[in-house]
């Protein structure tokens, strides 16, 4: 994609015409609408695939849902067990169970969580908002910082600053997320005591009475962990993209006219690199979600990630399925946004979608 973009830009280089502005006119709207329709249809198809895959995997689990539900203490009679099996529909065939579950899901009923003793939808909605706040802040911070670092590295190619930024990014990309979280916890919460050790609010205070300041206080470290990791990816991608721009003929020409430094970046670098950087933000939702699971686990942050771990370890099937569906939707929508952004900057990619 980048190569094609650059060759197009060469013809426009003499003026201040940015390379990546989409062509105006009626075609633009129609093409974009078509792309969105096709992608949404595919998204729905993929979600059906995810639901089938997830249900198949859960169906074949050796964990007995009834045993997981009643726990070790109770010793029910065979008759009670049979009643439970019938009540949950466990005696029916795979296809029947799947269709029954799918029908309920399409009707907005994800079932009742066995661990939380509440409708899955309510628990997930609640927890997802917590995770979303965490991921949103992390994405914002890492997006701004990562873009800035990437640009600075590219503009100072092979100098000390570039090497430092590269090493920072390489090292963080190889760092286990949960280890970084533990380090931050050790340093800032235990040794320095600046932040509390965990949880979204003080212990023993009802959720409604937690003040914004307290919430923020408990929010900083997990958000910092996620941001630090995101910065690395985005900085490296932005650097690559900026180097492509700086190696192009139109930048060589601009340099020949005497442009350099900040002005060169403003006239040529910014517009050619900001939208890919933005698209990247959405394309990496999968990694973001994974990082969030680990950070939440370390800091006992009550988001969707720690709920997933509890559900997986505790054999809470409806909850597990619900989280799989929600997190996949999250990733697919992220990819969709990334695709739309890519089409917006380069209308020729429409046909390839």
């Amino acid at each position: 994609m980048s190569g094609a973009l650059d060759s197009r830009s060469v013809t426009e280089a003499p003026g201040r015409v940015p390379a990546a502005v989409p062509t105006r006119g009626p075609r633009r709207g129609r093409g974009l609408a078509r792309v969105i329709c096709v992608r949404v249809a595919r998204l729905v198809g993929l979600l059906f695939g995810v639901s089938l895959l997830a249900f198949t995997l859960v169906y074949h689990s050796p964990v007995d849902p009834i045993a997981a539900y009643i726990g070790a203490e109770a010793s029910p009679t065979d008759e009670q067990l049979a009643q439970l099996r019938e009540y949950w529909g466990l005696d029916r065939s795979f296809a029947e169970q799947y269709l029954a579950w799918l029908g309920a899901v399409l009707g907005g009923d994800l079932g009742v969580s066995r661990l939380y003793q509440a409708p899955v939808l309510d628990v997930i909605a609640d927890r997802f908002m917590m995770s979303l706040a965490l991921m949103g802040v992390a994405r914002l911070v890492s997006g701004v910082l990562g873009y800035a670092l990437g640009v600075i590295a590219a503009m100072n190619r092979h100098r000390l600053l570039d090497r430092l930024i590269c090493w920072y990014s390489y090292t963080l990309a190889s760092t286990p997320t949960f280890w970084l979280a533990i380090l931050l916890l050790t340093l800032f919460a235990v040794v320095l005591g600046w932040f509390p050790v965990g949880l979204a609010g003080p212990v023993g205070v009802p959720g409604s009475e937690v003040t914004m300041a307290e919430r923020f206080h408990h929010f900083v470290l997990p958000a910092a962990t996620l941001s630090a990791l995101g910065v690395a990816t985005i900085a490296m991608h932005t650097r690559e993209r900026m180097l492509d721009v700086l190696d192009s003929d139109y930048v060589a020409f601009a340099r020949a006219r005497g442009e350099h430094g900040r002005r060169l970046f403003r006239n040529h670098g910014l517009r050619n690199s900001i939208v890919p950087a933005l698209a990247l933000q959405f394309a990496y939702f999968s990694e973001l979600f994974g990082g969030s699971i680990l950070a939440e686990q370390v800091f006992s942050y009550p988001g969707l990630g720690s709920t997933l771990v509890d559900a997986g370890l505790g054999g809470d099937v409806p909850m597990l399925l619900g989280i799989v569906l929600l997190s996949s939707t999250f990733v697919f929508v992220g990819n969709l946004i990334a695709d739309i952004l890519t089409v917006l900057i380069d209308p020729r990619t429409r046909d390839s979608l």
Partner: protein
């Protein structure tokens, strides 16, 4: 006014790419050798608990300190690294195998096979890796089986796409057309002609995949879905260290994680060097 110096072409480096690659490979080799030799030299008895040496900070007797059962953390870390590397090699190889088979099949057979495989790739990319792994671990009942299957099924997609794109180019080349003209089957063409062509790509894919695989194994184990608590795995060590951190036992989590970071970093650098060397100039940095 400073003179506008043209940017040097990106191929101009202080060292050549092959020297960089050799250095990275030497680092990885030295690390591997160090881990294997140390693990071989280490006394198995230090894995057992010693009541007299509980929660000792790092010192000459215990390089990384000891845990709350008096087990030497250096020994456990080295054992954990060996386990991480073994699991990493197995799962990365499995992933590469899946990617190679599906990538070649999609491009060579085309039609509905291609459509199904491409759809599967999109599908697998859509589920966050860690969520997928937790699901698989739940499905097979946890343990090492969950780790191996879960990780193998979540890392093949991008390599499969690359191999598919390679084969799409190759399948119209003369040697494939000639072979088909002689009446060779698609299976023969895939095995005899295409496999060798995509092998370098697959090997680079293996090295690039390796750091991710190792990190994901540690993460899955840390969350409690992997090895049993008795196993000295890095994820387990960090999980065990967690409750002791708030009482000031910083060394319990610091050193195991740092060692894992060093190993992963060495492999990531090697993969990056390989990628730079094998991709055409202009791609990659």
């Amino acid at each position: 006014m400073s003179h506008p110096s043209p940017a040097p072409p990106r191929t101009t480096r202080r060292r050549s790419a092959s020297v960089d690659l050799a250095i990275a490979a030497a680092c990885v080799g030295a690390l591997l050798l160090a881990i294997v030799v140390t693990a071989w030299l280490l006394d198995e008895s230090s894995l057992r608990s010693h009541a007299g040496a509980r929660l000792m900070p790092p010192g000459p007797d215990h390089l990384f300190g000891t845990d709350w059962l008096g087990r030497d953390l250096f020994t456990r870390t080295i054992m954990g690294l060996r386990l991480s590397l073994t699991v990493g090699v197995v799962t990365a190889l499995l992933s590469v195998a899946v990617a190679t088979v599906l990538g070649i099949a999609a491009a060579l057979l085309g039609g509905w096979v291609d459509a199904v495989i491409s759809w599967l790739i999109d599908l697998s990319i859509g589920i966050p890796h860690l969520v997928f792994m937790v699901l698989v671990a739940f499905s097979v009942g946890g343990g090492i089986k969950g780790i191996v299957i879960g990780i193998s099924l979540t890392h093949w997609m991008s390599l499969a796409r690359l191999i598919r794109a390679d084969v799409l180019h190759l399948r119209h080349s003369d040697f494939v057309l000639a072979s088909r003209g002689f009446g060779r089957s698609e299976w023969f063409i895939a095995r005899r002609h295409l496999f060798g062509q995509v092998l370098p790509q697959a090997l680079v894919g293996f090295v690039l995949m390796f750091p991710h695989v190792v990190l994901h194994e540690a993460a899955l184990t840390f969350l409690g879905f992997g090895f049993s608590p008795q196993t000295p795995a890095i994820g387990i060590l960090l999980h065990e260290g967690m409750p002791h951190i708030s009482s000031g036992m910083w060394w319990m989590a610091l050193f195991p994680g740092l060692c894992l970071l060093l190993v992963v970093l060495a492999f990531a650098r090697l993969g990056d060097r390989l990628r730079v060397l094998t991709s055409s100039p202009g791609q990659g940095g």
